[in-house]
Symmetry: C2
Subunit: 105 residues, 2 copies
Amino acid sequence: MDRLHHIAIQVWDLAEAVDWYESHFGCSVAYRDDTWALIEFENIKLALVTPGQHPPHIGFATPRAADFGTLTRHRDGSASVYITDPAGNSIEVLDSRTLGPSKAA
Amino acid sequence: MDRLHHIAIQVWDLAEAVDWYESHFGCSVAYRDDTWALIEFENIKLALVTPGQHPPHIGFATPRAADFGTLTRHRDGSASVYITDPAGNSIEVLDSRTLGPSKAA
């Protein structure tokens, strides 16, 4: 069975949003810069993205990612392709074989 | 650490969307009626919801759900409250103690 690797939702004030999620839920901030933050929950990662930087989307991890299109290699070694589902939702399909154990969740 | 219990995204043609997710990913349809469907992935559930029935949202499971507001009990025994994060994203906070083992993922 495939996994959902992460979800990216849009926020306007990144600092305010990170503070809110950290103070309200048991989670930990894995990465943060001026444009986005990545928050780890037990079973999945939640990305908080600011407008114009990264589109809101959901990211799936599957060994068949290349079936969806040409994969782009990212700085962390992972490879993925962005597509849309039939309803127009933005989907990132990540090659699960390029995700280390710590990235798999 | 808290869990993300489910994600609900909006689709326009439910049959088309269910077929697309089933045919493209390793997943299984756990529930389906005329207004929405629930698709299980290895680590989380993806709800496909039609406009006007259920808002797109992300659902967190935490034992401290009651801290967020008055919980509503659902037909399956789970209890939750809908709120918004500071950016206006719709959030469902589910009481993790009302989720059975099969619902926890």
